[in-house]
């Protein structure tokens, strides 16, 4: 609990572009005691639906927001307080909050536009996003078919005590779509060059899926540049991979084709909403994307098998290595997290899918910070 006896629960800001969220439902009843990290509400944003976890503890004295209500970030959702606080005090708190609250002004593109930056590396124009200012550096590397938005729920929280960078790999997001070499080795050398371009000597690398393999390769190439390695549902440490997901994703052109594929990424298929599907389709329709994805895919998989394997390198790494997986991963099986060498920390989160950093953002963030 914070210093005051009464705490506001407010609409979170998940990612740069979020200006408002829609309350889907409350997951807790009034007068229940809530601990930090408890799931309190399902919220839908322009990008994705997710569960909002409590940032403070206390008794949920009042639900202010109602299901189906769309509210700007920072708006009052509910009130937490110690159990002995009276209803009158809660009423006064709400009245005071609402009187002083002004929704953030929507800048016509300005604020969000300037937050993305681009670097020219070789022939590529690479988009990246930096959040936070600190001596510690973290670089977030997304997986196949993803982009820096996959770190929507990760980058903000980690930036509280680190400079956190996320980037769009070539062929992805808003980076250059024409790819010459789609190999993991080429992507890893790009990550190293990215560090040089943005002026960081060393960083904690966090990679998801194919991004994990790229982070591993980067570490093997330049061990001095890497402080720690966090590998989430990573490629490159086992053989099996869901090849029909990969080829289906590359070929899919319509909502009807892509929706069942995306639902394989999560334990709870209802997270895949219209906006997320639209975003992926908009990306897939860009000129050059299908070709880029084909080039990258052939470099690391052959049907249902991965053709890259760094598993034997793990034992020789002298930096902290953390492997995180969702037990219900349908793309790369969580069994790859088993029987790893003793220097590797392993956490398998029960019931979550391949996009575990999105689905169980709170827990994964704690593991990344821990």
């Amino acid at each position: 609990m914070s210093n005051t006896a009464i705490t506001a629960i407010t609409m979170p800001k998940w990612g740069l572009s979020m200006v408002e969220g829609k309350v889907i439902e409350w997951l807790v009843e009034e007068n229940t005691t809530i601990a930090v990290g408890d799931e309190i509400m399902d919220i839908e944003t322009e990008k994705i639906a997710n569960t909002f976890e409590a940032l403070d503890s206390g008794v949920l004295k009042r639900k202010v927001a109602e299901p189906d209500q769309s509210l700007p970030i920072g708006a009052l959702l509910g009130v937490l307080a110690e159990s002995n606080i009276s209803d009158e005090d809660i009423d006064a708190f709400i009245k005071d909050f609402q009187a002083n609250y002004t929704p953030p002004e929507i800048q016509e593109g300005e604020e969000s536009e300037t937050s993305y930056a681009w670097v020219e590396i070789d022939d590529y124009r690479i988009r990246y996003l930096r959040m936070g200012v600190d001596k510690r550096n973290i670089i977030l590397i997304h997986g196949f078919g993803g982009d820096l938005d996959r770190w929507l729920f990760t980058q903000g929280p980690l930036s509280a005590n680190a400079s956190v960078y996320s980037l769009d790999l070539p062929g992805h997001g808003q980076s250059t779509k024409t790819i010459r070499d789609g190999s993991v080795a080429a992507m890893a050398s790009l990550v190293t060059k990215f560090m040089d371009h943005v002026g960081i000597d060393h960083a904690h690398l966090v990679g998801h899926s194919l991004g994990g393999a790229i982070a591993l390769q980067t570490t093997i190439n330049d061990p001095d540049k890497v402080d720690a390695l966090s590998l989430i549902a990573t490629a490159g440490i086992g053989v099996e991979i869901n090849g029909s997901y990969i080829s289906g994703f590359v070929q899919a052109e319509s909502r009807r084709e892509i929706k069942p594929l995306l639902q394989q990424l999560v334990g709870d298929p209802s997270l895949i909403n219209r906006n997320l599907i639209d975003d992926i389709l908009k990306y897939k329709r860009l000129d050059g994307v299908t070709e880029a994805l084909e080039i990258i895919a052939t470099e690391f998989i052959d049907r249902d098998q991965q053709t890259i394997d760094f598993r034997n390198h793990l034992a020789s790494l002298s930096i902290p290595v953390h492997v995180i997986w969702g037990s219900a991963d349908q793309i790369i099986p969580a069994s790859h997290a088993k029987n790893l060498p003793g220097n590797v920390n392993v956490d398998v989160l029960e019931g979550f899918g391949h996009l575990v950093q999105v689905e169980a953002a709170g827990e994964v963030n704690k593991l990344l910070q821990g």
Partner: protein, 337 residues
């Protein structure tokens, strides 16, 4: 997040990017250079509404002003397409199509079929449609239904800047003749449009809004009106799903049927006259293939079966409005409840 541009600039950008990518793309029409006829005019106006502004300076003679003879213009474009060019021809108003119909429905639409698949006709005819501009009966019609009726033509009706760019790029790359219908009232609307090139496949409807009580199928400008109605209806607990087919030919039947299967109630909004229209076409589709899903009669919101009135007061009443859509949704939602 994204960059916001106007609908008309999205069309300009699609033309620009495709002309840069493919030398066989040419633009022809009345006033598309600027109407001065003078060579070297770098900053010509670019059509009556400035949609092709800037292209003449970049591409020179690949942007061609035509005489005021729609039959000659469309005939030349169809012929150029048959011999390997990819012409984008602009017919200022859809109402003028009457004088070039042989070129469109007897020639362009038939070549591939009658020559056993050996000929392609990759022509795009861009044209303005729609009421609301006090332009009277000969400059305000919604004649897309006439083209939808003709096999061999593809008919496109973008409702947003994002769709306008992606569908026009697809239209230019498509090997069949495409009638590309732009609503006058949408040119000044704004929306997120990626700078990179992209193509939206034909026959892929957009679910503009999700809801589980009533399905609204709306086309072109009517998508915006339907959205307005749907937002107002939320207060009464009615959640509408809005399906924008984007193209009337080919038509994404599956998305419409799937949506009605979930909601059981359908309102079709079509700015055109009510007979032999997209409204009747979609209604017949759903009553034939989705009959068992329906929990209420299908409602249609259309213009009446009259020419577009010149009187401003009458024209406003003529066009389907958000209020009329709202009333139709309430009616179907209340049926049987």
């Amino acid at each position: 997040m994204g960059r916001k541009i106007l609908y008309q600039d999205a069309i300009n950008e699609a033309l620009d990017q495709e002309m840069a990518r493919d030398d066989s793309v040419i633009v022809m029409g009345e006033d598309v250079v600027g109407g001065t006829g003078a060579s070297g005019e770098m900053d010509a106006w670019g059509g009556v509404l400035g949609v092709t502004k800037g292209l003449y300076g970049k591409y020179g003679n690949r942007i061609m002003d035509s005489p005021i003879s729609e039959s000659a213009l469309v005939g030349a474009a169809v012929g150029a397409a048959a011999t390997g060019m990819r012409p984008v021809c602009e017919l200022m108003f859809i109402d003028f199509m009457g004088v070039c119909f042989d070129q469109i429905y007897n020639q362009a639409a038939k070549f591939r079929y009658m020559f056993g698949g050996k000929a392609t006709t990759p022509v795009v005819i861009r044209t303005m449609y729609g009421a609301g501009f006090r332009a009277a009966a000969q400059h305000s019609q919604c004649l897309y239904n006439i083209f939808t009726h003709v096999p061999g033509l593809k008919v496109v009706m973008p409702s947003s800047p994002y769709d306008a760019k992606g569908l026009l790029i697809q239209a230019i790359r498509d090997d069949d003749p495409v009638i590309f219908c732009e609503h006058k009232a949408l040119y000044a609307t704004e929306g997120d449009v990626p700078e990179e090139s992209y193509a939206i496949p034909f026959g892929e409807a957009n679910i503009v809004r999700e809801g589980d009580d009533v399905t609204i199928v709306a086309l072109g400008r009517m998508v915006r009106f339907a959205t307005k109605a749907a937002e107002a209806l939320v207060a009464d607990g009615i959640n509408c799903e809005i399906v924008d087919p984007r193209t009337s030919s080919p038509l994404d039947e599956e998305t419409i049927l799937e949506s009605v299967e979930a909601t059981g109630r359908l309102v079709v909004v079509d700015e055109s006259n009510p007979r032999c229209s997209m409204a009747t076409d979609i209604s017949s589709l759903v009553s034939q293939k989705g009959f068992s899903s329906l929990q209420a009669p299908i409602e249609m919101v259309t213009a009446p079966h009259t020419p577009v009135p010149f009187s401003g007061a009458l024209e406003d009443l003529y066009i389907p409005s958000p209020d009329k859509i709202e009333a139709a949704v309430r009616k179907t939602a209340a049926y049987g409840n």
